[in-house]
């Protein structure tokens, strides 16, 4: 059923992360992304893994749900790791495996494996952190409000920030409505014997016509009604508009930003010496 699709990934709750200002969360996601990209040493990665685990615990979202965020990207992670494994240069003495397939000559070196693990870990951390800090804990409407406020300086150079934000929140607002409507029309046509799941591609596409036409019609009708309703309430764009919910940054917001900014320092964490791994001449840089 379409009803099972969760929009975005918002997971309602009342944890510290849920209660932070959306602006804080957007900024912190960026800071954490930077931190992940700056991390070089194994120790730095260790620190970030711990941080991510801590964030997941704080968010009070079941770990299984959080890890679901990785599912759509597993293929990308695997491909990235694969290429890093074979195409990272390194010392001849570090060759672990050497294949000869036709004219190809792929070589796996220690550097390649290290780099593959790092890349995979990097992507996993990125996704987990941003989902926990931002997408799982911020409702889509809060998110657009946050983006609007963060970008509001751009309005000075005539970027229609408010219009975009309004369009975004309207679109977000109507996605569940549209899904519900689609569900209803599909059920109705199924009651009249529509068959969406058998036959070849052309038949299946054709079977969708009885769903798409009513859906399109109702979207237009809805857009008309909405425009009229907005005009009746004298909507004239963003100028001079006040808000019902005024976002306020509190001490905990500033503290959280500071906390995230601290992790940029992982850049300077020392590498665990390569001798500890018993390999000489290892190069961790990318």
């Amino acid at each position: 059923m379409l009803k099972d699709i969760t929009l975005g990934q918002f997971f309602p709750g009342n944890s510290l992360l849920h209660r932070l200002d959306p602006r804080t969360k957007i900024l912190c996601s960026i800071l954490l992304i930077v931190a992940v990209f700056l991390a070089k040493s194994a120790l730095a990665y260790g620190v970030l893994i711990l941080l991510t685990a801590a964030l997941i615990i704080i968010s009070q979202i079941p770990a299984g749900t959080v890890f679901k965020a990785l599912k759509p990207l597993i293929v990308i992670i695997i491909i990235t790791a694969f290429f890093n494994m074979f195409f990272t240069g390194g010392e001849e003495e570090n060759v672990l495996a050497d294949f000869r397939i036709w004219f190809l000559h792929p070589v796996i070196r220690v550097e390649g494996i290290v780099s593959a693990v790092k890349m995979a870990l990097r992507i996993v951390l990125l996704i987990l952190q941003t989902s926990v800090v931002l997408t799982y804990t911020t409702s889509p409407i809060d998110m657009t409000d946050g983006i609007e406020r963060l970008l509001s300086p751009l309005a000075k150079i005539r970027v229609p920030v408010h219009t975009f934000a309004m369009m975004m929140s309207l679109a977000l607002r109507f996605i569940p409505t549209l899904i519900e409507e689609t569900d209803k029309i599909i059920s109705a046509q199924k009651s009249r014997g529509a068959d969406f799941s058998s036959g070849n591609v052309i038949r299946r596409v054709k079977a969708l016509v009885p769903v798409l036409i009513p859906l399109l019609l109702s979207s237009f009708r809805r857009a008309d009604d909405l425009a009229l309703a907005m005009e009746c309430r004298c909507y004239r764009g963003g100028t001079g508009r006040t808000r019902m919910k005024i976002m306020k940054m509190t001490a905990k917001d500033f503290l959280f930003i500071l906390f995230c900014a601290l992790f940029i320092a992982v850049r300077f964490l020392p590498m665990i010496s390569s001798s500890a791994l018993g390999i000489t001449g290892m190069n961790f840089s990318f």
Partner: protein, 291 residues
């Protein structure tokens, strides 16, 4: 042939199981729909009416319990569930929003076509179905989108009738129509039932409509079936009981109650305007002769 057209046995359905949005919509409902009469299902918004209907025609599979159609479990062969939709015709709320074809004729024949009937048979059924809802031949080739609201609704209902289902279920068939439109739709439905002798289920939250058209009535509240009996008996449960279930007594009953309070010798168990007329007219005539 079983005495009941549809039997629900301990049927439950929960939406979004295992998510924070989990909602128990139907909770162990037992319900027997008698063959060949109009049964009303009544309950206020969120009482689980729509979910219940979708389980009756195989759109939703009950998570607990069984749905019997003519004594047989509808989910006996899950691969053939589409055929259940043909046997139990479900008309959704605001069905006019599902119209999609270029002409009335084509739209009504969508269902029969999906059943794989011959062209001649489809033509016969389309004509019959449109006659039941009072749409004349002059409109057969009109675009359904050019019709009036009430006409669109009737064409959409014809689209389900044309499948000649054993049981016809209508979810709020008169919602959003003016009094005349309501009367027409219900008139069509009663006429359909009389002529075909098939089973009809009407879902509504209007007690007035139930009192007038339903022979038996089931009351749903919070996903449970709290009452199921002859309409008269359900309504005699008394105003307090009904109001506790979120239902309003028909307006004519309220009027009769007021009259009784004012000392007129009238019965309080009057649920339709017709009955009230029968009660009040003699009184009125008697009153005149007194004066």
């Amino acid at each position: 042939m079983s005495e009941y057209a549809i039997e629900l046995k301990g049927v439950s359905y929960t939406y979004g199981k295992g998510t924070p949005f989990m909602k128990l919509a139907v909770d162990h409902v037992d319900l027997n729909i008698r063959r060949g009469i109009i049964t009303g299902i009544i309950g206020h918004t969120g009482s689980g009416k729509s979910t219940l209907l979708q389980m009756m025609n195989g759109l939703l599979r009950p998570q607990e319990g069984t749905v019997l159609l003519d004594g047989k479990d509808v989910w006996e062969k899950p691969g053939k569930i589409r055929e259940i939709a043909f046997r139990v015709g479900l008309v959704f709320q605001y069905p006019e929003y599902q119209l999609f074809e270029e002409t009335v004729r084509k739209d009504v024949s969508y269902g029969p076509k999906n059943m794989g009937l011959s062209d001649a048979e489809i033509e016969r059924r389309v004509k019959e179905a449109l006659a039941f809802v009072g749409i004349g031949e002059e409109l057969y080739d009109a675009s359904p989108f050019d019709l009036s609201g009430g006409q669109k609704r009737r064409v959409a209902i014809a689209g389900v009738i044309a499948m000649e289902p054993e049981v016809l279920i209508l979810d709020e068939p008169a919602a959003g129509l003016d009094p005349r439109g309501r009367a027409e739709i219900f008139g069509n439905i009663v006429n359909y039932k009389e002529k075909t002798g098939r089973t009809v289920i009407i879902v509504s939250h209007s007690m007035d409509d139930m009192a007038r058209y339903a022979e038996e009535t089931a009351v749903l509240c919070g996903g449970r079936a709290v009452m199921m009996d002859e309409t008269k008996k359900v309504f005699s449960a008394g105003r307090e009981t009904l109001e506790k279930l979120g239902l309003n007594v028909p307006q004519i009953t309220l009027l009769m109650e007021k009259l009784a309070q004012m000392g007129l010798p009238v019965s309080k168990d009057v649920f339709t305007v017709e009955e009230a007329k029968r009660e009040l007219l003699p009184l009125l005539k008697g009153g005149q002769s007194d004066a």
